[in-house]
């Protein structure tokens, strides 16, 4: 069985935000919520790097560990999903997640949190695969259709990779070898002889 993973190649990401847009459109993500975002480090400086980040579908997910109602579950593919029918919008997963993946729609009354929303690896939720209920709550279940997450499929520079961890690792290893160095060490650092960038 595959172990699904995301990997963003910082040498390739050009901060086009195509992944963010693709995700929003494919999953009909509500206003104010972005399941994926691109962060640029050292923006405008030599050595700037951009990385697209969303839920990383951790093996030992912190969100699942702190959830008071235990609404998270991991699929056989290693994708971390959650049940919105059980979620109470307490926000603990947001406190625990290092990547800022859990998002909360703001409810009308007293601005409390609604039910949590996050990247599903385009694998929907606990509802029946491809059902209308699943589409409305969690977005498009592409994995059940044999497709990969649209953010990675849409990536113009193929910086964002998604799929079986072994294959993703193979692709990245091959790239690193072609660059003739260890990952991410070539480029600005060597050109400018400076290993200590201010981020």
């Amino acid at each position: 069985m595959a172990r699904m993973k995301f990997l963003c190649d910082a040498e390739r990401c050009i901060e086009c935000n195509g992944c963010v847009t693709a995700c929003k459109n494919e999953n009909e993500v509500p206003w104010g919520i972005n399941r994926r975002r691109v962060v640029t480090l050292g923006d405008g400086e030599p050595g700037e790097r951009s990385i697209s980040v969303a839920c990383m579908h951790c093996s030992d997910a912190p969100c699942a560990a702190v959830c008071p109602v235990d609404c998270f579950y991991t699929t056989d593919d290693g994708i971390v999903l959650h049940d919105k029918d059980i979620c109470i919008g307490c926000g603990y997963c947001f406190y625990a997640c290092p990547f800022g993946a859990p998002q909360f729609p703001q409810q009308d009354a007293f601005a409390t949190r609604g039910k949590m929303d996050k990247c599903t690896f385009c694998a929907g939720g606990p509802e029946e695969d491809g059902s209308q209920a699943e589409l409305e709550k969690y977005g498009h279940n592409r994995v059940s259709e044999g497709k990969l997450p649209l953010c990675a499929e849409m990536c113009a520079t193929k910086a964002l990779l998604a799929g079986d961890g072994d294959e993703v690792a193979d692709i990245f290893r091959e790239r690193s070898m072609r660059r003739n160095t260890r990952p991410d060490t070539w480029g600005w650092d060597v050109a400018y002889k400076d290993g200590s960038h201010e981020i």
Partner: protein, 346 residues
Amino acid sequence: MKSERRRRSWLALVLGGWIVVTAPIALSVTLTESSAGAEASDQEKAREASQNPRAEYWREVRHGAQGYSAVTGPEANVLIQDGGETWQELRNGPASTIGAWLMAGVVLALGLLQIFKGTWKLDHRTGRTIKRWSAFDRFIHWGLTVSFLLLALTGLGLLFGRYVLMPLVGKEAFGAVAAVSKPVHDYASPFFIAFLLLTVVAWMKYNFFTSYDLEWFKKVGGYLTREHVPAGFNNAGEKVWYWFLSVAGLVVVASGLFLLTPNFEWSRSTMQLSSLFHIASAIGLICFSLVHMYLATIGNEGTLEAMVGGEVDERWAELHHDVWYDEIMASRGTKAEPDAGSARVS
């Protein structure tokens, strides 16, 4: 090794938090900053830098370096915020376990007290009563009681329910209970805040310590020996409860307000820290309230009457609050004879 050291120092911090609930929630202190201390040595860094020039770069990212993101939202420009790891370990670890043992310990101690000492009964009743609490006092007391119990029960459900209730009733049923608990917890809080503030202000005058309070402490209120201990309107134990309630109450309220208002976009480190202070102060309050509830009901005969009807038997006042009793009697100018017929003299 590193993470172990960090964990130990955090353990010490949360243990301190139990006792020093007085510490204000310092917004400026972020979990990220405090954990940055335990880092690789300079030598290691230099070696890494020679092998991998970007090692330092990614290390900073690992600890919350900020960048730019076109996506707007709280801390959207931070790739990795590592405070959650510490928060998770403390919440699921010491905060839950020590908290559970503390509460169990209090219940056990009270149970032992009841078994070995039993209810502190009044040897006789005079039939005459003294006014102790006004209608307003009783209103704020019971308002505080009801809102506190709602908050305590729903709060405990959110912290322990997954491990205690969920195995019994199942995930869906517990989810339904939790879905009610969460808004009840949110909406009960403004009432708790109002009643707490009223209580703190209205009752402060009863709770300044006096010289004879020391004797009360020395004899643990007489609860173990049943010997006489001096006490004014409030005894020393009640005064400690008042000040604990005031301080821990304000901590629980302040930390709770951060958690209640995510729309103000508090940083995650603020909410993580608030959550820990909230748990620590709330469990402290629950423990102390258990003691209070026991002593005010089955622990001491006649005490509950004070908060229900507002009046206490003269013998109760003489037995438990002798200084106050003497003051009342002195203000009346005469000590009432035990066989006086009037039922109400206040």
